[in-house]
Amino acid sequence: MDESLIYTRLGEIFQDVFDEESIKMTSGLSAKDVEGWDSLTHIRLILTVEKAFKIKFSTSEIARLQNVGDLVSLIQARA
């Protein structure tokens, strides 16, 4: 799947999950950069991504995620 396409789709998902339109998608974006990105919202984010891309991540894959770039690579490898 095309990387820019994944970023676009992720942008929509972030908007939906964080209820915030101004989040800019970059590979380095991580929890400390976004207000409200706590452990629970993180779970909701992962669940929404899984549903949107019709994939299921393993527990260790989720644990290794550091930033949006990691998430994009993971989606690319699976979708």
């Binding site: 939906d16 999950v17 209820d19 452990s39 629970l40 779970i43 909701r44 669940l47 929404t48 899984e50 549903k51 949107a52 019709k54 994939i55 299921k56 527990t59 989720i62």
Partner: protein, 653 residues
């Protein structure tokens, strides 16, 4: 959003399919709400009445919270304060509960103490829960929260374990009763999927499954008649399937007690339980008849043609709806009928069809007429002295459902799948008649309402029908008869009884003859709208009469599109072609039959003048083409396949 392909679940439950899909403008409407002050309850409820997913529920809950914080009134939502005590992470679930409660007319305020403080909160007099004076406390506990200890084959220890669990729950209840006197809501326990022996688990004392069975049974007994409430999560989990319910991965990662995909479902069930405690359960079921109570259209298919018999797959699906309606009536739900039909025709199956389970004596109010259904349901509510918010309306036709939702938003209108076999299940999944108690008086309630129901004639109609019709984005397509449409034309000509002016039946060769006769004007009419393509819904044939006149030989329409002013548009199209052909007068005939009383005033309504009436009831009508201008209906018009007069003479002479 679509279901995850990796983990497909039954979408009726995972996606709340009895609710309409979330509209495109959901986020925009939410944003407007977030920036508004004043009374937001109605719009919040309107948004909540869609099949919202977890993110949408979370966002709606945020707006509700903000409105409450700003002191905004949430009327007409009824306040309810619920404390939730749980051994798991309910942070994802609480916002879903708040938003789902709005769907059921409740402004829910959730008290949520810290994680896994169940006993401390219940037993300490000045705990967060007890000092907040909740209306009810929900013990959202699953099997992992309770002291289950395997004692395989040991009936005595097994029984002691069960008593231990029940004793623990009773201690919690005692704490709440003593300290805040709130109603306690106890959840039954969903058994985990992983068995130890297999089938033997159910029979052998001391297995987890056997002990959970025991606890659920005893819990139901001690809650019954106590004034507290049982929330049957075990049954909910079994309904969707235990393997879908339990998701060990999300438990391990975040201690979410069941699959995230089922949070909207669970939250709706909490909400309907709380709403039932506030007396918000629905009290009456209004049934459509054609293709809902029976298969087919009584006015067209007749008593022998409708499907309502055992041994016929479609008939059995509709019988299942009748059986459900009767069972609901037995527990006190009032039944009513709203059908677009002639009254006598609609009553006939109830009186004469031997396989009908529903009889006229079961129906408190019977409204069969040609009014719009919002008007009828309003009248039913008035006759029963119930509010529109006490009614559920069941209809297979999405246009009727949409109209009632639009004009009477307080009425609950479940979406239905295409397959009637799933109608009964879908109606039940909506949980409209959720009850937390049952009294002997309930058994007599349906009779009581029935005795009080007066038969009234409908005078006023509910406004706004035209605006609704315009919102359907209808496209009407006119074509002359052709080979492609012929089979359906022949079918309509030979089947339509109600909206049929002359009821003349023609064979395939006769239709072909009309099709190729240049002196005969033929019309096949299709209608599409936002719900899809209705296919061919009207047919007309005009034959040359006296010089400069057309005799309307045949004019019929499917009753499915009744009330959309299709007939106006058909007349406009006919007039257009009449002018082109140099015709100055249209002659119409109404030939009365047993079935077509519906169209006795058809020509009068369209501006024709009556010129003759016979003893048989036959009437003759005429319309001068020149100045005729029937009212335009809100739809796009496509006219195609007609040859101009010049081409016609080229082709045919």
């Amino acid at each position: 959003m679509e279901a995850c392909d990796n983990f497909p679940m039954n979408p009726l439950y995972a996606e709340l399919q009895w609710l309409p899909r979330t509209p495109e403008d959901f986020s925009a409407r939410l944003k407007i709400l977030g920036n508004s002050t004043g009374c937001l309850g109605r719009e919040i409820q309107a948004l909540a009445l869609h099949a919202l997913d977890l993110n949408q529920l979370t966002k709606l809950a945020k707006v509700i919270g903000k409105a409450r914080l700003n002191g905004g009134a949430l009327d007409p939502l009824v306040p309810f304060r619920l404390a939730v005590l749980s051994n798991s992470t309910i942070d994802l679930i609480v916002p879903a509960m708040v938003a789902s409660a709005a769907r059921h007319g409740i402004a829910l305020d959730v008290i949520q103490p810290s994680y896994d403080q169940v006993a401390q909160e219940a037993l300490t007099p000045d705990s967060q829960v007890n000092s907040s004076k909740p209306d009810a406390v929900l013990f959202a506990l699953d099997y992992r929260a309770l002291p289950f200890k395997l004692s395989l084959g040991d009936a005595e220890s097994s029984s002691a374990t069960i008593q231990g669990v029940i004793g623990y729950l009773q201690t919690l209840r005692y704490g709440i009763k003593t300290n805040s006197n709130a109603v306690c809501i106890f959840q039954t326990i969903a058994a985990p999927v992983e068995s130890l022996f297999g089938s033997l688990d159910r029979a052998l004392p001391g297995t987890l499954r056997a002990m959970i069975d025991g606890v659920n049974r005893e819990m139901a007994e001690f809650v019954a008649g106590s004034g507290d409430v049982l929330f049957d999560v075990a049954s909910l989990a079994e309904t969707v399937g235990l393997a879908d319910w339990h998701d060990p991965q999300i438990w391990n990662m975040a201690k979410v007690p069941f699959s995230d995909q089922l949070i909207p479902l669970y939250a709706d069930h909490v909400a309907r339980t709380v709403a039932a405690m506030r007396g918000k359960s629905r009290k009456a079921l209004v049934l459509d008849l054609d293709n809902t109570v029976w298969g087919g259209v009584i006015g067209d298919d007749g008593l022998d043609g409708i499907k309502v018999a055992q041994g016929d797959a479609v008939g059995e699906a509709h019988l299942a709806i009748q059986r459900l309606a009767l069972d609901l009536r037995q527990r006190g739900i009032v039944l009513a009928v709203s059908s677009k039909n002639t009254d006598e025709v609609a009553r006939e199956p109830f009186q004469k069809h031997p396989e009908m389970l529903l009889k006229l004596e079961h129906i408190a109010v019977f409204q069969a007429n040609w009014n719009d259904k919002a008007t009828n349901i309003q009248a039913i509510a008035e006759e029963l002295s119930l509010g529109a918010d006490a009614m559920v309306f069941l209809d297979d036709n999405p246009v009727e459902r949409g109209l009632v939702r639009k004009l009477l938003p307080q009425v609950a209108v479940p979406e239905l799948p295409d397959e009637p076999a799933y109608y009964a299940r879908t109606l039940v999944a909506g949980g409209y008649f959720e009850a937390v108690a049952f009294a002997n008086e309930d058994l007599k309630r349906a009779d009581f309402y029935q005795d009080n129901a007066r038969r009234t004639n409908l005078q006023k109609t509910v406004g706004g029908v035209d605006a609704y019709l315009a919102s359907l984005d209808m496209t009407i397509t006119f074509q002359p008869f052709d080979a492609t449409g012929r089979a359906r034309i022949v079918q309509l000509i030979n089947k339509s009884n109600q909206y049929n002016l002359t009821t003349r039946r023609y064979t395939d060769p006769e239709v072909t003859e009309a099709e190729s006769d240049p002196t005969v004007f033929t019309l096949q009419v299709r209608l599409a709208d936002i719900f899809g393509d209705n296919g061919m819904i009207s047919v007309a044939i005009c034959r040359p009469g006296q010089t400069g006149e057309w005799e309307i030989d045949t004019w019929l329409m499917s009753c499915r599109v009744l009330g959309r002013k299709v007939e106006n548009m058909v007349l406009r199209e006919t007039l257009k072609h009449a002018r082109e052909a140099g015709i100055h007068k249209l002659i119409g005939t109404y030939l009365p039959t047993e079935r077509n009383k519906l169209v006795v005033d058809h020509y009068a309504k369209l501006g024709f003048t009556r010129v003759a009436e016979e003893e048989s009831g036959l009437t003759r009508w005429e319309l001068v083409v020149g100045d005729a201008d029937p009212e335009i209906a809100p739809m796009n018009v496509v006219s195609q396949g007609f040859v101009t007069d010049r081409e016609k003479s080229f082709v045919w002479t």
